[in-house]
Amino acid sequence: MEIAAIFKYLYELLASTGLPSMLVDIIALGFAAVVVFLFLALVALFLVWLERKVSAHIQQRFGPMRTGWHGWIQTVADAIKLLQKEDTTPANADHPVFYWAPIIAFVAAFMAYVAIPFGDGLIVSDLNIGILFIIAITTFTIISLLMAGWGSNSKYALLGGMRSAAQVVSYEVPMIISVLAVVVFAGSLSMVDIVESQAKIYQWYIFRLPFGPIAFIIYIIAATAETNRTPFDIPEAEQELVAGFNVEYSGMKFAMFFLAEFVNMFTVSAIATTLFLGGWQGPLLPSWVWFLIKTFGMVFVFMWFRWTYPRLRVDQLMEFSWKFLVPLGFANLILAGWMKSSGWFNW
C-alpha cells in the first residue's frame, strides 16, 4: 500500500473525531514533522556509515566491520560515544553565539524538508514557493558557520568560518541561476509542479538539451561547494585549518554539525532529484522508492567526488565561481528562457 494513503487515512480519522479543523491541521503537521525528523535522523546515520563504506572500498579497505553485519551499527555506537563526551566550551568563547551555532545549523538543515516531495503526495506542505523556500532556509547554514567561527574565539575557527561564508555566498549565485533555468521551464516554484512537469523520461530536465545538462552540472558543482565537500571543503580543510569552524566543538554539539552536514548532502541530492531527475516518478516501484533510489544515487556521486579529488585553494575557488560558473549560468538561463518562449522545445 502507498504510504501517502496511510497518512491520508490517519488524517481523515483525526478529522472525523470532530476536533476544530485548525487543531487537526496542527496535530497533522506536528506528526509529519516528527516522521520526517525521524526519517532524516536515520538517513543521516545511514549516510555516515555509507560514506565510510564507500570511501573504504574506493581506497581498497573494508571500513567498519566489527559492529554488526559489515559494521552497520557503527554510527549508532559513534553517536552514543559522542553523547557521553564532555561538552567543552573554550574559556574565552562568546557563549550564546557558541551555544546556538550548532542548533541553527541543525534546524536549518532539517527545515528544508518541509517542501521536499518524498513521493506522490508525500510532502509535508506543498508550498507554492517551494524551491525558493528551500534555498532560503538552507542558506541559514552560513549564519551558523559564521557564528561557530566567531563564537569559538579561535583563529583557526575564525578563518574557517570566514572562508565558508565567502564560499557559500559565492556558490549560492550559480546554484540559484541553475535552479532558475528549471523554474523558467516548469513555470512554477512549487516542487510538486516541477516534478509533475517531468512525467516522461525524455521530459526530465537533465535530458532537455541543451540547457538541462548544463544547468545540472552547474547545480552539482555549486551543491558540492554548498555542502562544503571535496573539492570545495576549504572551510574545514583539515590539513590547513585543522578542522575549520568546528575545531573547538566537542560532544553533542559536534555531532549536530556532523549530522547537519550529512542531512545537507541529502538535501542537495533530493533537490537534484526533484529538479532534474524527474523526482519520485518511475515505473513499477512505489514513488517513494524511486525518490530514494535517485537521491542515494546522487549522494553516491557526491561521495565519489570527495574520495577522488584534491582540494582547491580559496582564491581559485572564488575565481571558478565568479569568472566561470556565474557567466555560464546566466547564459544558460537566457537560453532556457528563449527555448521556453519560442515554444519549439515544449515536447
Binding site: Q60, T230, Q239, Y309
Partner: protein, 368 residues
C-alpha cells in the same frame, strides 16, 4: 566615518598540526590569507644522536643512526658505514655491495611512496594516500623477511650487511617490481593530469636554480629546478656506476615539477633494483672486520644521494679507539626547511602545505 583598520595576525602552525610532517612548527604572519612572514621553529625532535654516537662503538652507533632519518633508515646506515669503511680502508664483498644497492633503492621507493601519500593528503585527496601505503607495505615486507625489521633495519654493517636475503626474497621482489610500474601509472592517473592538482601545484613555490644552489638544496628538489645533480652519477659511491638509469630533471622548479621528478625517480629506482638482482653474484656478505674495530686516526666525510637530497656523515677518529671522537650528520631536509620562508612569502596558507609537501621535509633529519 572612521577608517577601517586592518591588522596582520599571527597563527601558529604546529608542532601538533596534521600537515607539518612530524613536529615542525611555523609561526606565520598573515595578512588575511596571504603570508607575509613564515618563521620555522625546529628542535622538537632533537635526540642528540650525534652526541650519543661519541659514547658508542661503531657497531653500536648503527641502531642509533637508524633513527637519524627513519623514513630511509637504510640510507642513514649506509652513509655512516661508508664513512667508517673509508676511514679503515675496508673493501667489502661484491654480493654485499649489491644487497646494499637493492635495499637502498627499495628504501628510496618506500620513502617516495610516503611522500606521494602525504602530498596528496595535504592537498586534500585522501585516497592516493592509501594507494601509496599499500605498495610501501610490500617493500616493508621485503625488508622484514630480510632483517626482521620494518622501519629501523640495523642491516648495513661495517664490512657488509648483517645477513643474506632469504630464498623467497627474489621471487617476491620480482613480483613487486613487475606490478610496480603499473601501480605508478595508477598514481599518475589519479593526480598528474587532474586539473585541480595542476592549479594547486603549477607555479606554486617556484625555486629558481640560483636560489636552490645558494641554499644548498640537493636531491629531487634541486633536479626539479633544472640542476641535474645526483651523487649516484656525479660522485658515484658503492657500485652505482654499474647500472643504467636516468636522472629525471625538470626546468620550472615549482611544486608540480618536484612531483614529477619524484614519480619518475620511483620508476628509475625500480629499474636499478631489477638490474641489481640480475647481476648479483653469489659469495660472502661480510668482509673480515675485527670484532674490536678500531679505525686509524683521521677524519672522513662520506655522502650519498638520499631521497631527500645529499646525506652526509662526517666522522673524526682519535685513533686506537673503538668509539668515534666526533660524528656529524647532514640531511637534505635542513636546507629545504631553510628555503621555506622565502618560498612561501606572498602565497596563501594552503600553499604552505603544498610547498612543504612537495619539498618532502622530514623532521628527524633536521633535529637529529
Amino acid at each position: 566615518m572612521s577608517e577601517l583598520r586592518t591588522q596582520e595576525f599571527q597563527i601558529n602552525m604546529g608542532p601538533q598540526h596534521p600537515s607539518t610532517h612530524g613536529v615542525c612548527r611555523f609561526i606565520l604572519t598573515l595578512d588575511g590569507e596571504v603570508i607575509i612572514k613564515a618563521e620555522p621553529v625546529i628542535g622538537y625532535l632533537h635526540r642528540a644522536i650525534e652526541k650519543i654516537c661519541e659514547n658508542r662503538t661503531y657497531a653500536q652507533c648503527i641502531p642509533v643512526i637508524d633513527r637519524f632519518e627513519y623514513c630511509t633508515s637504510m640510507s642513514s646506515e649506509m652513509v655512516f658505514v661508508l664513512a667508517a669503511e673509508k676511514l679503515a680502508g675496508i673493501k667489502i664483498p661484491e654480493r654485499a655491495e649489491y644487497l646494499r644497492v637493492i635495499m637502498l633503492e627499495l628504501n628510496r621507493i618506500a620513502s617516495h611512496l610516503i611522500w606521494y601519500g602525504t602530498t596528496s593528503l595535504d592537498l586534500g585527496a585522501i585516497t592516493p594516500f592509501l594507494y601509496g601505503f599499500r605498495e610501501r607495505e610490500d617493500v616493508l615486507d621485503l625488508f622484514e623477511m630480510t632483517c626482521g625489521q620494518r622501519l629501523t633495519y640495523n642491516y648495513i654493517r661495517v664490512g657488509g650487511v648483517s645477513r643474506d636475503i632469504p630464498k623467497e626474497f627474489i621471487p617476491k621482489c620480482h613480483e613487486f617490481l613487475d606490478k610496480f610500474q603499473g601501480k605508478v601509472d595508477d598514481y599518475e592517473r589519479v593526480l598528474t593530469e587532474n586539473p585541480i592538482f595542476l592549479v594547486r601545484n603549477k607555479n606554486v613555490g617556484v625555486l629558481t636554480p640560483q636560489m636552490a644552489v645558494a641554499y644548498g638544496i640537493s636531491g629531487p628538489s634541486l633536479r626539479a629546478s633544472g640542476v641535474k645533480w645526483d651523487l649516484r652519477v656525479d660522485d658515484p659511491y658503492s657500485i652505482y656506476d654499474r647500472f643504467r638509469f636516468e636522472i629525471p630533471s625538470f626546468q620550472n622548479g615549482d611544486c608540480y615539477d618536484r612531483y614529477l621528478v619524484r614519480i619518475k625517480e620511483m620508476r628509475e629506482s625500480a629499474k636499478i633494483v631489477g638490474q641489481a638482482i640480475e647481476q648479483m653474484p653469489e659469495g660472502d656478505i661480510m668482509a673480515k672486520v675485527p670484532a674490536n674495530f678500531k679505525p686509524p686516526k683521521g677524519e672522513v666525510y662520506s655522502r650519498i644521494e638520499n631521497s631527500r637530497g645529499e646525506m652526509g656523515a662526517y666522522i673524526q677518529s682519535p685513533g686506537d679507539s673503538k668509539k668515534p671522537l666526533r660524528v656529524k650528520l647532514r640531511g637534505g631536509s635542513y636546507n629545504q626547511l631553510q628555503v621555506m620562508p622565502e618560498l612561501v612569502r606572498g602565497h596563501k596558507v594552503a600553499d604552505v602545505v603544498a610547498i612543504m609537501a612537495s619539498l618532502d621535509i622530514i623532521m628527524p633529519e633536521i633535529d637529529r
